[in-house]
Every structure is written in structure tokens, then in C-alpha cells.
């Protein structure tokens, strides 16, 4: 049998306090030797259960109720413990999300790598050692011998994931299962890891089961894809057929909810999938997606079970939908985008930030070791304008959160100013700000689970800022709360709920309503949707942009996701190592000339297009430590377009193209409009 992994009509049940729940329902797929299959779906759809079932490592309470899972032709249910151990790590290996926690913190990298060959037939430690060193070289870790003696916490996130990949490849398995391997890593590191996986795949020939919520990463790795919804496979097929001709309405929804870096600019509207996955949907006899589906017809979709049917002329492209024809017709009319709005340079300036700098001092309290200074933010200059969105992008550690904290007054700046009207926020910690100033700046945080007080109801969370910041009485606050709920499109019956009774998207809506309660002038949102599923994310983004457009509130959004920024931002500031390296209107920043760092970020961003090809630039290395004093350009150590010694020795000049500025030594050509006019002059059009 040529198939490495076969799921044959597999159903998995979870027996819990609330009775028996079907987690996976009639899932069938197979991966041939050397093939690669992506599984996508929102959280709770059962993706990770598939991975664990393939390893026969289901959590307590879960059992395979029906069907057969075979690895290399052998039914895993029939394996003895010893046989199972010979499969795990040897024939099938797994790569996980969050490499830090999947490595043992008290064992050296070398020990953990050597375990694999020692468990699977190698008896000589010296041989195991040599193999581990060689494998560390394969995953491009520098100085492999020294790496062997390190502990996981001494490595960066990208290096840790390389170690986990090396560990998985040690026994040259027939199948690699990757469960969200790049979630939580920076885009540049993600791009490098994905390139590594592609390369190693062709070298070692392992088949891949790639699980992700990110369609862009799946497009880069896989040749086949399966879409899971509520534990059922709703569409499978060749990656190109599914991406170019999605058949199931849920697949349609996922693809059109996705922010795209190649969007036409701000205002290109996202299409969220209405509704949420309810627990009861898993048990539906008919189509699990029917309650959320715009094409639902009761007789065909609800009352009887829906089988997988051929979805397009392409071989093996199947979808679990009873109304494929209707869906196909409707999808012709999708993508109604608003005309991209040019950034208005003359909108009134709300917040004027000049030379903002933040240094932290480490150590040196009792004159022991020398003081070290962390330069978290150096000489930042930008403006936030009323009714417009400024996006701050960059890798983790670039200083974007420090910037947000300084503006919101959680930490005082070391130098520079941030003027909001007459007040200088830079030196004014939040507890010293007058009430009115506090009202004018509000924050929305990344993780709505931990920012809403778990013991306060929604109503309390919303009424409190109204009373405190706007001095409202109870009755007035109650009416205003109702209005806010309507504004963020939440039903009024949620008011009495506690945060844990809400979904992630609902919680983030409450957090947004809370921020808007004080009628602020400026909202600072730190990664507002990065913890949410794609379909929910789209709805929240639409909500934010609608609210801002209506109210003329300025928004500073901090994000690592360039595609999202492309959809939201009027202005973009790209940060690297505490400095703004490029700043300007979004349309200018997303078009050449680029700062080499912006160019690398754009290239690294995963694109939901199987034909996108490998990124043109892959950044190596890691951001240097911000404790070192930087003489020349901060990006010089990783820059793929470094021009020479000047980059290391001299601060790059700021090149200006109107309001668009780039700090770089390269003598960049003026924007495309200028090039076109030159070209026109040289060769008149035919």
C-alpha cells in the first residue's frame, strides 16, 4: 500500500460530564508517500484531534468510535504498546505549536535529540551524537556542536522550532505531522521555517500532514487540502482546485474573510462568516454548517445527511454540500470592494509624537555589574490623525508595544514628546493624567480573555467607564450601555453575562465597546484580532473600521500581520529595533520604493495563493539585542541589500518622498509614478 496515512470513515467520541459528544464525524482522507495534505478550520473544528488520533494519542475520554486509521498499511488500533512505540517518533513524528513548551526545559538540546536514535535502534551514544549534530546542521542552526549543550530557554523561538524539526527528522520518518508549527512566530521567522520545511521535504521525502488555521501557510506547503468544520470534512481536493474554485460555502467564507496583502488598499471589505459554531451543530444529522449558510434549503441540507460529492471536474475534489450549483452561481457576484480611499494628509493631527525615546536600565543597583541600557524606543516621530488609522508593524521585540504603553501612560518615556492637544503624554503616567485626558485615550488589548475582569458582568464593565469618565448617573449610563451594545452589534441579552460565557469575538466586541464608552479621541489597539479565528477577525475588523469612519476617532493599531494592516491602515510606521525605519501613507509604504526591511516583511507574509511561489527575500538571523549601542543602521546585520561598510558606521539618512520617509543608505528611486513618467518620456506608448 502506497498510502502513508489513511483515515477511513473515522469518528471520534468524547465521553465527558455532559454525555457523549462526537468530535470527529466520518472523516476520510489519505496521504500518499511523499505527499502533503493541509487541514484547515477554525478553533474547535477537530484539527488537532486528527493529528493526535494519527499518533494514537487521544486525550482521556476520547475514543475512536468508528472507522480505521492506518499508518503505512497497518491499523493503529491493533498495535501493541511496543509496536506503537516503534511507530511513534520513528515512522511518524510530530512538530508542535509553541516549541518552547514542547522541549523539556531541564535537558540540553543534545540530550533531547539523541534520545530519538537511542530509542529506535542505535545503541552507541557517539553515533547518536554525530547524527544529532548532523541534523542540527540540516535545519541550518549555526555552530551545531555548541548548540547541543544549550538548554531550550537559551534559544530564540525560531531556533527552538528548528530544534523540534530536527528532532522529528532524526529517525527519517515516513510521515511528519505539523500542528500549527509557525503560529506565534514572527512573519520573517515563519517564512524561513516554511522554506526549511519545503526544502527538507524534498530532501527526506517524508509525507506531511500540515494543520493550520492560516490558509497562507497551507498554500505554501501542501499539495492537497481538507477543510474541517464541526468535526466533519466539508471539502477536500487538490490545493489549486480548492483555492481557485472553492465549492463549499464554508470554504468560500474562509477565503473571503481572509485579509489579503494584495488587496486594493484600505476599505477593501472583508466578508465575515455570519454566526458562530454552536455545540449542537456537531450532532446535526444534516449539514453542520447549515445554520450559518446563506444557501441553506431545509429539505436538502437539514433533514437528511449530506454526502461528499464531486465538486469540480478536477479529480478528487469533493465537497459535502447539497446545493453546490446554487453556491457556484452566487459566488460569481462576490468581492464588491469600495474604492480605495487615499490617505488624507490634511486631516487634523490628534497626536504628534516627536523624538520619543524609552530606555530601560538593567542591573547595576549596588555598583556590581555595569549598567546595561535597553533601548526599547529611539527617536520615534509620527502623527496620528483624526478619523484615520495608523498601523505600527514590526517583529516582536521591535518596540511596538513599548510605544503603545508610552502613549497610554503605562510607562513614562525617557525623552521626547507626544502631544495630544495641549498635553504632553510622554512624561505623564496614567495615574497623573487628569480624568478628561484619560477619557480621550483608550486601549483595546490583544487578549480579551484576560483584559475583562472575570467577575464583572458585561453591563458593569461598560457602565463603569461611563460613570467614571463621563460622570453619568445610573439611568443615563444604562441607556448609553444599550446604545454601545447596538453599536458593536451585540444583542442586549448579553448584558447580564460574565466574560467567560462569551465567545472570543463577543469578548473583543465588549472590549471595543468599553474603549468607545468614554468617547475617546484616540484608540490604541494592540494586536486586536490576533487571538481570534479568521472569520471572527474579519467581522471585528469591519466593525472597527465602520465605527472609526462614523466617529472620527483616531486609531493606532499595532500588528504583526501585514495583510490586516493593508486592509485597515491609512498610515503605516514600520519599526525595527526601537526605530521607525519607514513611515508614510499606506499606499506608499506598500509600493516601492521600500525600506529593505519592509520589503522583507512583505515578502515573508504568507499569501493564500498556491501559485505565489517562494518569497523573494528570506531574512536570516535574528534581531540583535537592543542592549547594544547601534552605530550605523539598526538593520545592517540582517539586511539583504546592505551596500557596504557605511551601513555599519553611519546613521542612515532619511529619504523623503513627500510625506513618505525611509531611513536607508541606498539611494532609492522615487515612487512608481515618477518612474512611469520617465519611461513615458523615453519610449512613447505604441
Amino acid at each position: 500500500m502506497a498510502d502513508v496515512l489513511v483515515f477511513d470513515k473515522v469518528s471520534i467520541d468524547y465521553r465527558g460530564k455532559a454525555g457523549v459528544q462526537r468530535i470527529l464525524n466520518d472523516v476520510s482522507f489519505s496521504i500518499p508517500a511523499g505527499g502533503s495534505m493541509g487541514l484547515v478550520g477554525e478553533s474547535g473544528c477537530g484539527k488537532s484531534t486528527v493529528a493526535l488520533a494519527a499518533m494514537r494519542y487521544l486525550p482521556r475520554g476520547m475514543t475512536v468510535a468508528e472507522g480505521r486509521i492506518s499508518v503505512e498499511g497497518r491499523d493503529t488500533a491493533g498495535l501493541s504498546d511496543a509496536e506503537l512505540r516503534r511507530v511513534r517518533g520513528n515512522r511518524v513524528a510530530m512538530i508542535y505549536q509553541d516549541p518552547m513548551s514542547s522541549l523539556n526545559p531541564v535537558m540540553t538540546v543534545g540530550e533531547q535529540l539523541m534520545e530519538v536514535p537511542l530509542l529506535h535502534g542505535v545503541t552507541d551514544r557517539a553515533v547518536a551524537f554525530q547524527r544529532a549534530v548532523a541534523m542540527l546542521g540540516e535545519v541550518r542552526l549555526p555552530d551545531a556542536e555548541a548548540m547541543m549543550a544549550r538548554y531550550p530557554h537559551q534559544l530564540s523561538g525560531g531556533q527552538q522550532q528548528r530544534v523540534v524539526i530536527a528532532m522529528a527528522l532524526m529517525a527519517e520518518p515516513a510521515l511528519l505531522i505539523m500542528d500549527e508549527p509557525t503560529t506565534g512566530l514572527d512573519v520573517t521567522i515563519e517564512a524561513a521555517i516554511l522554506e526549511l520545511v519545503r526544502e527538507l521535504r524534498s530532501k527526506f521525502g517524508a509525507a506531511i500532514l500540515f494543520i493550520s488555521h492560516n490558509l497562507g501557510t497551507v498554500a505554501r506547503i501542501c499539495d492537497r487540502i481538507g477543510v474541517l468544520y464541526a468535526g466533519r470534512l466539508v471539502e477536500t481536493g487538490d490545493i489549486r482546485s480548492v483555492f481557485h474554485r472553492p465549492a463549499h460555502p464554508y470554504t468560500h467564507g474562509l477565503l473571503s474573510a481572509l485579509p489579503r496583502i494584495d488587496a486594493r488598499g484600505k476599505g477593501a471589505r472583508l466578508h465575515p462568516i455570519e454566526g458562530t459554531l454552536a455545540a449542537a451543530d456537531r450532532a446535526r444529522p444534516g449539514c453542520a454548517f447549515s445554520p450559518r449558510c446563506p444557501h441553506m434549503a431545509p429539505a436538502e441540507c437539514v433533514e437528511r445527511s449530506v454526502p461528499m460529492v464531486p465538486a469540480s471536474p478536477a479529480a478528487d475534489h469533493l465537497a459535502r454540500c447539497a446545493r453546490l450549483e446554487a453556491v457556484r452561481k452566487a459566488s460569481q457576484a462576490a468581492w464588491r470592494a469600495r474604492p480605495p480611499a487615499e490617505a488624507e494628509v490634511d486631516a487634523p493631527i490628534l497626536l504628534d509624537v516627536r523624538h520619543l525615546t524609552k530606555n530601560y536600565e538593567l542591573g547595576g543597583r549596588f555598583g556590581g555589574r555595569a549598567k546595561r541600557v535597553v533601548r526599547a524606543l529611539s527617536d520615534a516621530n509620527f502623527q496620528a490623525r483624526a478619523g484615520q488609522t495608523l498601523a505600527i508593524v514590526g517583529e516582536s521585540g521591535c518596540g511596538k508595544s513599548t510605544l503603545a504603553k508610552t502613549i497610554s501612560g503605562l510607562i513614562p518615556a525617557s525623552a521626547g514628546e507626544a502631544r495630544l492637544g495641549d498635553a504632553d503624554l510622554a512624561q505623564l503616567p496614567v495615574d497623573k493624567r487628569p480624568r478628561d485626558l484619560r477619557r480621550r485615550i483608550q486601549m483595546v488589548f490583544q487578549n480579551p480573555d484576560s483584559t475583562l475582569n472575570p467577575s464583572h458582568s458585561v453591563e458593569f464593565a461598560l457602565a463603569r467607564p461611563l460613570k467614571v469618565l463621563r460622570g453619568m448617573g445610573s439611568g443615563e449610563a444604562k441607556r448609553e450601555v444599550a446604545r454601545l451594545m447596538e453599536q458593536v452589534q451585540l444583542p442586549p441579552d448579553l448584558l447580564r453575562r460574565m466574560p467567560h460565557q462569551l465567545s472570543g469575538g463577543q469578548r473583543q466586541r465588549v472590549a471595543i465597546a468599553r474603549a468607545l464608552a468614554g468617547e475617546p479621541d484616540l484608540v490604541v489597539a494592540d494586536e486586536p484580532v490576533s487571538a481570534l479565528d479568521v472569520s471572527v477577525q474579519a467581522a471585528i475588523l469591519n466593525l472597527l473600521s465602520d465605527l472609526l469612519e462614523r466617529s472620527h476617532v483616531g486609531l493606532i493599531v499595532i500588528s504583526h500581520d501585514l495583510a490586516l494592516v493593508r486592509h485597515m491602515a491609512d498610515w503605516v510606521a514600520v519599526m525595527y529595533l526601537g526605530r521607525i525605519v519607514e513611515y508614510g501613507p499606506a499606499d506608499a509604504v506598500f509600493r516601492p520604493p521600500y525600506h529593505p526591511y519592509t520589503e522583507a516583511l512583505l515578502a515573508a507574509a504568507p499569501k493564500p495563493d498556491p501559485d505565489a511561489g517562494a518569497p523573494t527575500v528570506v531574512l536570516g538571523g535574528a534581531m540583535p539585542s537592543s542592549t547594544q549601542a547601534i552605530v550605523g543602521c539598526p538593520f545592517a546585520s540582517r539586511c539583504p541589500r546592505k551596500i557596504g561598510a557605511i551601513c555599519d558606521t553611519e546613521t542612515p539618512p532619511v529619504r523623503r518622498f513627500g510625506v513618505h520617509s525611509i531611513a536607508c543608505h541606498i539611494d532609492l528611486p522615487p515612487p512608481a509614478a515618477g518612474i512611469r513618467s520617465q519611461a513615458d518620456a523615453a519610449a512613447p506608448p505604441p
Binding site: V87, A93, M94, S101, L103, P105, Y151
Partner: protein, 312 residues
């Protein structure tokens, strides 16, 4: 690590001086002067005054403190007012007795709790885990005096197998080693109950972690996973708590010692406090503080050895 140890030892010396001064000063400020306490309520004021002068109590506090510390560094902690013996001798005897009890108990408690805690925690919610959890919470929730009386009733009154008091004298009719059994049992039940549940929950947490899954999915046997990956991680958190038990075992055994008339350090401190035997209180406090600080230092050092993330 050496640097850290030296720094901690220096900190310890400073703390000891500070504590000794505080205790010295507080005792001086407590109501009723020493001479009056010595002579009793029926002595005349002039007798008290004479003794006051003889003892040099009319000199400034700081002078007397320095003198006291000078003597203390030479091993002389003054005279016990109640026992009429040099404090150093008294302390040496009693501390010795307590150390024996503490050492035996520690040697029983630690391996026992580690074994039961790890076995219970490695298979969460198994029958064995539930049994051990119930057992340990019962042990930890019965106070020492209740447990002591309970065991006395069984082994002394009912079975007559063991002595009811432990004065550690051979002439009491029971072999000296038998006199240790009941005190050790009481301490073990009480203290192990707490440690077992502590180690168990640490083990449970480790067994749920992602690196245990990694190890299992490498193809390692359950036994290998527990021994190689779980054990060391599971002992990191309880390690300091385990060492803290030494504090309890040295200076917190008042109840057990009183119950069994065991001539130990805890009981000495209790008696000294009740009879305002200042010299004994002062010296005893210094001993208790040193024990606490030393175990803390060993705790920190051991912690660093176990967990590479906090090595300095």
C-alpha cells in the same frame, strides 16, 4: 554560583546581627526588669537595685549589646535564669536531641512523600491517585496533638507496644530507640500529608505539559518518560518546600515535644518564653534564624542545580 553563595552568606551575617540586636532590645524593653524577675515579687526594691548594678544593667543598651555579642561569638550566651546553667550547654543538649528527631523524621518523610507523590501524580485520577490524595489530605488536616493522642491511645493504652513518654533516658523502662517511634510517626503523618499533595500536584502539572507529550510521541515508554523527563521537572517546585520542612522540624515541634515530654529545642523555647528566660530566648532565636537562613540558601543552590533556567 560561588559568588552568589558568598553574597548570600554575607547577607546572612548582616541579618543575624540585625535580628540579634532587635531581640536584645525588645527583651530589654519588655515590662519588668531582669533583676526583678530574678529575685521574685517579694524582694525589696533595694535588693533589686543592688543586683541591677551588679549585673551592669545600668550601662547603655548598645554597650551591653556589644558585650553580649562579643561573648556570644566566643560561645558564651550567658546564664539561663531558670535552669541555672550556661545557655550554651543547655542549648547544645536540647538542640542535639531535636536534631536527632528531625533527622530521623526528615529521612522518613522526604523519600516517602516523593515516592507517593510521584506515583499518584503520574497517573492523574487513577485509583491509586485518588487513594493517596484522600490519605494525604486526611493526614495533613489532623493537627499534631490530635494525631498524637490518637496514636497514644492505640499503641500505648490499647496495645501497650510503645512508651507514652520519650524523655530519652534509658532508665525509663523502655529502650531509647522505642521512645523515638511515636514522635517520629506523629511528625511524619502530619508533615508527609502536606508534602505528598504538594509533590503530587506538581507532578500532575508536569505530566500535562507539552514536553511530556513530545517525549511520549518520540516512542518512549511510560516508565522512561516519568524517569527521564517528568521527575526532575516535578521536583523543582516542591524542592524549596521540602527544605522548609527543616525549619519546622527544628523549631516547630513544640506540640510533639510537649506531648511526649521530649527534651527538645522547641519545648525549651516554650519554657523560656513562659518564664521570661531572656538569655535562652535570645540564643534560641539566633539558632532558629540561622537554621531558616541556611535552609533557604541550600534551597536556592539546589534550585539552581535542578533548573538550568535560573542559573546565575
Amino acid at each position: 554560583m560561588l559568588r552568589y553563595t558568598a553574597k548570600q552568606l554575607a547577607n546572612m551575617a548582616i541579618t543575624l546581627f540585625a535580628v540579634s540586636f532587635l531581640v536584645f532590645a525588645l527583651n530589654e524593653l519588655s515590662p519588668g526588669d531582669v533583676a526583678r524577675k530574678l529575685l521574685g515579687a517579694y524582694a525589696t526594691q533595694s535588693q533589686v537595685d543592688i543586683l541591677y548594678k551588679e549585673m551592669g544593667l545600668d550601662r547603655p543598651l548598645i554597650v551591653r549589646y556589644l558585650e553580649y555579642m562579643g561573648n556570644a561569638l566566643a560561645g558564651d550566651f550567658g546564664q539561663s535564669l531558670v535552669f541555672r546553667r550556661p545557655v550554651s550547654e543547655l542549648l547544645f543538649d536540647r538542640l542535639g536531641n531535636t536534631m536527632i528527631l528531625a533527622a530521623i523524621s526528615f529521612a522518613v518523610i522526604v523519600p516517602l512523600s516523593m515516592l507517593l507523590g510521584v506515583l499518584a501524580g503520574m497517573r492523574e485520577r487513577s485509583l491509586f491517585d485518588r487513594a493517596i490524595s484522600v490519605f494525604s489530605s486526611i493526614c495533613a488536616s489532623i493537627p499534631e496533638f490530635a494525631m498524637g493522642v490518637f496514636l497514644l491511645a492505640i499503641f500505648v493504652v490499647w496495645l501497650g507496644m510503645l512508651p507514652g513518654v520519650s524523655p530519652l533516658r534509658a532508665d525509663s523502662g523502655w529502650a531509647v530507640w522505642m521512645q523515638f517511634v511515636l514522635p517520629v510517626l506523629v511528625v511524619t503523618f502530619y508533615d508527609a500529608g502536606y508534602l505528598i499533595s504538594m509533590i503530587r500536584s506538581s507532578m500532575v502539572e508536569v505530566m500535562r505539559s507539552a514536553y511530556i507529550r513530545t517525549a511520549t510521541l518520540k516512542g518512549m515508554s511510560f516508565r522512561g518518560v516519568v524517569a527521564k523527563h517528568a521527575l526532575r521537572n516535578a521536583l523543582i517546585t516542591p524542592f524549596t518546600v521540602i527544605l522548609l520542612q527543616l525549619n519546622y522540624l527544628v523549631s516547630g515541634l513544640v506540640v510533639v515535644e510537649t506531648l511526649f515530654a521530649y527534651p527538645g529545642f522547641g519545648r525549651l523555647m516554650l519554657e523560656a518564653a513562659l518564664s521570661k528566660d531572656i538569655a535562652v530566648i535570645e540564643a534560641g532565636t539566633l539558632v532558629a534564624v540561622s537554621v531558616t537562613m541556611l535552609t533557604q540558601l541550600f534551597g536556592d543552590l539546589g534550585y539552581m542545580l535542578l533548573d538550568p533556567r535560573i542559573r546565575v
